[in-house]
Subunit: 328 residues, 2 copies
């Protein structure tokens, strides 16, 4: 399909995303500059996405753009970082016309405003393969203070923001697999799947107020990600399934099919923050939750040992048939 | 094709590339940390590569890896930056087996040692599309001192490192289009095309010794890239074609077909540094050239006006049928 040249696309659609970004140089130089404020250092992470795997060819371009950016920002949130900007690569297929690019970059512009960051640079190529993107996001944290996966201590409480399972159930809904569920609930799950909410304010506040030193974002699935934290912290984790926060829509879905509880607990794509706190921080964390208007739930504890156990209401370990999923 | 899981590949092949890298956290956290030394700031750039466009499916995996890293390091060299590390995404196809990954990461390891950098993080996905990679490279420069494209002044001399045209002629050789040329020359051009040499030491020395403030690396082609510099500096540039440095192999190729001079001047993929200096720095730059064992050639001048003129031996402007090429 005919579209403007690489240089024209950059000038018309990408350069405006870099307007006002110090160090982006209007996308006209070989590289960008990042200069952290005194006492702070740079946090960086990269994600790759390709059509048919991470999004569908006919998904709205603005939604693809925003989800891509948000998943990446969620990794910054997990470290307690404040966002700065991002580099982006776009591998465009013949099918992509100028209107598609316009809608895609409009989605980026909307989320740049919402989360306070800008484009720093990138690379645009034509591919005979599949439509693909990468985003390299940058944030900053006080030097040496980033939240890490390995900082949990025995006796810590396991906390999680928001609700769990909506992303994975939303994916099922998008495939037409939740037809027993009512329309509003299906739509609610789909919306959460399509547009996750990176918990940047929460992550930065946990760091700044020294409420937690151990966090990650739930992308592989609650059980798998808690396993990563336990493993890196050389501890075990126990979760009460009944305390895992569910949205009304997720609860209704599980009422239609109890096997969907396992999907919620292991399915991933939640982009909520999972973190641990010392028990004496419980009240401070709930105070923060009220300030942010965000539910924060206590779902379990860390202890000596290894592995993750998920207990049902009677205290029996649930047999979960998968410990998280992966696109790989 | 059967290969180990994403987690196993990371543990076996990618994590060793991150060994000893501060801030990489053994690839086990959500993001990496970059902490520039006092007085320095971060330079970052990203490139995307896909099979059939930037490399061929049957190219040796180690060569693909090294060229990818080197092209990216060349952008750091253009800013005068010292390399730190890189993030990498890999989109792997079914065809890629463990032996391929082993050879690919061995190539990365070799160039990490050669250029003094390490892996900071990344993302590995499976794609039903084409084998693709991105590298986001990081370096550092003294705050506010990065070499820029816009720093040339009227009266500056235009300088270029190494030899020009080998990359573009090597690409023709790889396509079997230089059969009139002898075998050793064809091999020499091919080698330069397959494995460019990022001029990191030169770039950092130009910055540290304050010999230049305006530089870029020749990737689009000498004429197009000089045009970028002239444009960003709001100046014109004039080049004497006879002074553009050619390798013996390139000169022999042009003897077989004089039209190949235009390929050399506009073809790109040279990854040499193009930079401008005040005339009184000429001797210092040649002293640096001797120190580095690297040819640095004076090929033209910057002046008021706009655009790039390439003059032949009689002072007539050459008509070049393209001002650089692009993969786009």
């Amino acid at each position: 399909m005919k579209r403007p040249s690489e240089f024209d696309l950059i000038a018309k659609y990408f350069a405006p995303l870099a307007a006002g970004m110090p160090g982006a140089f209007g996308l006209s130089d070989d590289a960008a500059i990042l200069s952290p404020a005194p006492g702070r250092e740079i946090v960086t992470t990269v994600d790759a996405l390709t059509e048919g795997v991470h999004f569908l060819p006919d998904d709205p371009p603005g939604d693809i753009a925003r989800k891509m950016l948000r998943c990446n920002l969620s990794d910054l949130a997990a470290m307690g970082a404040r966002p700065i900007g991002y580099l982006m690569t776009t591998a465009l297929t013949d099918r992509i016309d100028e209107a598609w690019i316009a809608a895609f970059t409009a989605g980026l512009a909307a989320d740049q405003r919402e989360f306070g960051l800008g484009l720093l640079g990138g690379d645009t190529i034509s591919t005979p393969g599949l439509l693909s993107f990468t985003v390299t996001a940058f944030g900053n944290v006080p030097i040496g203070k980033a939240l890490r996966r390995n900082g949990a201590r025995a006796g810590d409480l396991v906390m999680v923001s928001g609700t769990i399972g909506d992303g994975a159930l939303g994916l099922l809904a998008s495939r037409g697999e939740l037809n027993a569920l009512n329309e509003p609930d299906r739509k609610a799950l789909l919306a959460r799947y399509r547009l996750p909410q990176p918990r940047l304010t929460l992550g930065a506040a946990l760091l700044d107020r020294r409420l937690s030193v151990a966090a990650l974002d739930v992308s592989d699935g609650l059980v798998a990600d808690l396993g990563h934290m336990a493993d890196r912290s050389k501890l075990s984790a126990t979760v009460d399934a009944a305390r895992v926060p569910l949205s009304d829509a997720a609860r209704h879905a599980i009422e239609t099919d109890p096997r969907l509880l396992a999907v919620a607990l292991t399915g991933g794509d939640d982009y909520e923050l999972l973190f641990t706190i010392a028990p004496e921080r419980r009240d401070s964390v709930q105070g923060l939750a009220r300030e942010l208007g965000l539910t924060i739930s206590e779902i379990g504890t860390m202890a000596a040992g290894q592995g993750v156990r998920v207990l049902d209401a009677s205290g029996q370990a649930l047999a979960l048939d998968r410990a998280g999923w992966t696109h790989f």
